[in-house]
Structures are given as structure tokens and as C-alpha cells.
Point group: C2
Chain length 313, copies 2
């Protein structure tokens, strides 16, 4: 069966699923579209946390315990900045910093983010394409009762403790889908919305003008994997965010957000009782373990996802 | 006795003398004018090797064995760049990189190099002013039989093995002296040409339009400390450079270059037999140990230099 499998992904769960898919697919049959709404300028460096988490995960170098950064990385640059009296709540390891240093250098030389990402992948031996959702800058902004925060301030500095009353994507109106993203969707035999936060990971990707439209218009099978299990995101603030944004804080809430956009919803077996409600939204429901603790878990979930792409509705 | 002591310095010997002077003078009475001809753009970062050697030396953090960088620094960023397939002949440590990252960030925010250097000094607890020779970019270029090389390629990458047939300072015509440099010279009671290479360390500073003129016009006592002992620079290629550029490869060769510019020449005791020849150039000669291996050496030399500034000719 020809065609690409296209995965939309933020950092955490989506990246793990990407690794699982890569274990089952030839690398050139998988394209991962990464969220860049979390990107930041850090001391003049362009840092792309989600793209880099994808890169490190696919290269087998991710720090699994932390869920970000490179295993065994050190923080000497950060320590030195702290000694100079700088704030260092954004934790960028030394080797992780090298990635951003190279990327920024290449961007200044005129490469697009797509090209710079492709080159980083090639240099790291990752043969699967990781493409940014857009080459244009988009910045996720979080509205809280205390005011609007940039994403990393909300997420890292304030440890996602603020109630989220709104999310917007600065620059989204002028952002064009990266050429790789749109091409991949056109050539997809299957499109997977990874188990990432629908508001701040999948949301920015879908909000790039043209991407959601292309997915809706696609004849590929479209599958979403639940990012929430038993009413809680495995990591991060999704449960609370669903609530404060006025949605049901469970898989039904997420499935409702994806209504009309996906054909199949992969639900965790801990939430099996929600199956009828999600089915009523017009989706086929696959119930399985979606919690990826081991490489076996990742591969098992990826296998279920690939099967869902291939089965008739 | 009022007024400033102004030291013109490259990285190595000049920085050690600065440390010696600082042990004897109140910090606000010493101003060090640093060479920026060695500066480079490295992955988009503005690296100032001589200013940073001065900073680290005065902060007591220099790696003495290497003569550059921060004691105990690591090279994780560099290792990561090498893993990405980059050339890493220019060795920038992680903590050293943090200095350049901050400087570059501040320069992009609109600070001048003078202001950024001042801020780094303040953050590092260095109360003596280190001022760049100029806020404008100047780049030392080395002419060799193989063609022209930028300074770091000549010095680091090719380990200063090429015969030097010419030196020029790219951008020097348009470079203005930094305000701090010219002010300090005007307020000097003494001006010291440190024991640094006259062609590539002191030379660029003097070549900034206005600086040599201001020193010549100054009524302050002017002292040069020999950068060459027994026909050899303690570090670096000065001996060979004097020869290939058509000068005597000894202290007389250096003194000849400074003829008319300095009143006193500090000669190493190993070269005492050269005293009459240097005296004939119209300089008073002080003979003493100029080799700085210990803090006692540094202080003893600094004491001789300060005494030379105060004695009548």
C-alpha cells in the first residue's frame, strides 16, 4: 500500500508515537508535522522545543525521564549565564543549545526552517522527515486571569499553574503552511493527530491557514489518538485546560474538538466506557492501551493506529 | 598622584600585566584598552578573544595552563557541533560561550561593544574598566605566501605556522576609537604598551585612527614592555613574524617599531646586552624580569612599570 503516513505532533506523546511508527514503517513513508507555536527566541537563538523533541526522540537520544532534551546533557552554559546574573528558568542543555545554535546560524544564512530542520535530521541520522507546520513565525499566547503569557512563560516558568481562559496564535493569519507539510498531507494515505495537547500542540498546526482545510479535503483515513486518559493528560495541563476552556475534561471533550475532522478515535482502554459517546460523534472508536511507557507500548499503539488507517470504516 | 594608568593589551602577556597592575592600583585608576582585531563571528556569536582573556584574567578565572578560556570549562556544545559534522578547530568552551552569547544578545539589543563589555565586567565583579579599542568592527588579516587568512584561521586553525608577509586591519579606515579608549588616554598619567604582539595585538589598537595620535600628543609618561625575550615570544609567533616582516627578531626590533611613541622600554634581564642599542633609539631602558610565571612575577613587573611611569626621564 503506497502513500505517506502523516503525523501531526507536539513534543511528548506525539513524539513517542512517531518513534513507534518509525519502528514499523520505512522511514521515507512517515512524515511528522511538528508544532512551532512553542518556539522562542532565547538569547538570540531560535529554539524549537517540539521539533527538537521529535528530532531527539527519533534519533534515540531523548532524555526519557525528563521528556525533553538530550540524554546525559549538561548545563554549563546555563550555569554560566546564572553566574552572570541571568534568569535561567528556561532549561536548555549544552548539547541541546548546539542544535539551536546551528539552526539559528543556518536561518541567518537564509535557509528556511524547513530546510534547517531537514539538515539537522540528516546530520543526526534521522531519515524520517520532520517538517515544521510553517516556516513563518507563529507564537502561542496563553490568556490567563493574570493576563496574557507567552507559551514558555506559562508552561515552564509558571509551571502551567495558571487557569487558561484562552489561547491564540500570534502571527497565524500571515503564516503559510510549510511546503513539506502541505505536500505530505496531499500525498497521505493516512493522517494521524498524535496524542498531543489539542489546544497548544495540535491546535497551532491546524490553525495554520490551509492545513485543516487540506486535512478535511483529504481522502486519506484520519485517526486521532487520545491525549487524555482517565481524565488526565499523562503530562501537562490538558485536563485543567479542557475544563477552564469550557470542554468536558476527558476523551469525549477532545473527540468533540476533532468532530468532523477525523474518522477514527483511538481511546484508551481505561476510558472504554466513553466509547458509545464518542461513536455518537460520528467516529469509529478503537479501544486499546495508549499509555507508552516502553518501546513495546509504542510499537503496539503504532500498530493499532496503522491498522485503523488501513481498515475500512 | 592622580590620573589613570592606561594599558594597551592583547590577550596573553598584556592580560597578566593588567592583573599585576590591578594588585597595586585601585581598580578605578586602571583602564585596559583591548584589541578587537582578533574578534570573530562564530555561529552568529560575536567572540572577542582578547577582551574575554582580559575579563577572565582580571576576574581570576582564566585557565592559566592554556592561557585562554575559563578554568575548568567544558566543551559539550563543541562536542555536539562536532557530532553534527561541524568543524570545531576554534575551541570555545561552554562557559566561555555563555559570555559570547550574552554579549551578542546585548549587541543585538542595541548596546555598543563598549557597553556590553562594561556590563560583562560588572556582572563578573571586575571593577577595572576593560574597553575595546573600537566599537566598530575591525578584522586582522594575515598575508602569507598561501594567500590572505583571517586571524583565527592563521592563528588557531593553522597554528601560526605560515610565514607572515603582511598584516592588515580590515575596516580600520572607518573605525572610530571607542569613547572610553580616547577618554582614558586623555586622562592618563601613564600609558603602557603591554607585552603583547606589536603587529597583531598592539598594532590594531594603534591603527584605529586617532589612538596613536592621541598617545603621541599625550603628556603622560609612555612605557612599552617587551613582548620578546631572548629572541622568542613567550607564546605565539612574534619571533618568526618579526623576521618575515623584515625586522630584527629581538627586543631591538620591537623597540624600533615603538620609536618616538614611548619614553621608556622595559627590557628583560636576559636581554640586558641590548640596552645600549635601545637607548640609542631615544628611550630610557628599564631592565628587569619580564617573564610572568607567578603572581609575584606579575606584581614585581607591574611595580617596575608603575615606577617607570613616575620617575623623571
Amino acid at each position: 500500500m503506497g502513500g505517506l503516513v502523516v503525523l501531526l505532533s507536539g513534543g511528548g506523546g506525539g513524539a513517542k508515537l512517531a518513534r513507534g511508527l518509525l519502528a514499523l514503517l520505512p522511514p521515507e513513508e512517515l512524515v511528522v508535522i511538528g508544532n512551532t507555536g512553542d518556539d522562542l527566541e532565547w538569547y538570540g537563538l531560535r529554539v524549537c522545543p517540539d521539533l527538537d523533541t521529535l528530532l531527539y526522540t527519533l534519533a534515540g537520544r531523548i532524555d526519557r525521564r525528563r521528556g525533553w532534551g538530550i540524554r546525559g546533557d549538561t548545563f554549563a552554559v546555563l550555569d554560566a549565564l546564572a553566574q552572570y546574573g541571568e534568569e535561567t528558568w528556561f532549561r536548555l542543555g549544552d548539547r541541546d543549545l548546539a542544535t539551536s545554535l546551528l539552526r539559528t546560524h543556518w536561518l541567518r544564512e537564509g535557509l528556511s526552517l524547513t530546510e534547517a530542520t531537514h539538515r539537522l535530521c540528516a546530520r543526526a541520522g534521522v531519515r524520517t522527515r520532520i517538517v515544521p507546520m510553517s516556516d513563518d513565525p507563529v507564537r502561542t499566547r496563553i490568556r490567563t486571569p493574570q493576563g496574557e503569557l507567552d507559551f514558555q512563560t506559562y508552561f515552564v516558568r509558571r509551571r502551567h499553574q495558571d487557569p487558561v481562559v484562552g489561547v491564540r496564535f500570534d502571527g497565524i493569519e500571515g503564516a503559510r503552511p510549510s511546503p513539506g507539510a502541505l505536500d505530505a498531507i496531499y500525498q497521505a494515505r493516512g493522517i494521524v493527530l498524535g496524542p498531543s495537547n489539542p489546544f497548544v500542540s495540535i491546535g497551532p498546526i491546524l490553525a495554520v491557514p490551509g492545513i485543516e482545510e487540506a486535512i478535511r479535503a483529504s481522502r486519506a483515513r484520519r485517526v486521532a489518538v487520545t491525549p487524555i486518559v482517565a481524565g488526565r493528560a499523562l503530562k501537562g495541563p490538558l485536563g485543567a485546560m479542557l475544563r477552564t476552556l469550557g470542554h468536558r475534561p476527558d476523551a469525549v471533550g477532545v473527540a468533540t474538538l476533532y468532530r468532523g475532522l477525523v474518522d477514527v478515535f483511538v481511546l484508551d482502554r481505561q476510558d472504554a466506557e466513553l466509547e458509545p459517546e464518542i461513536a455518537r460523534l460520528g467516529m469509529r472508536v478503537v479501544v486499546c492501551n495508549t499509555v507508552m511507557r516502553t518501546s513495546q507500548d509504542r510499537r503496539a499503539l503504532a500498530r493499532r493506529v496503522l491498522r485503523a488507517l488501513e481498515e475500512d470504516a
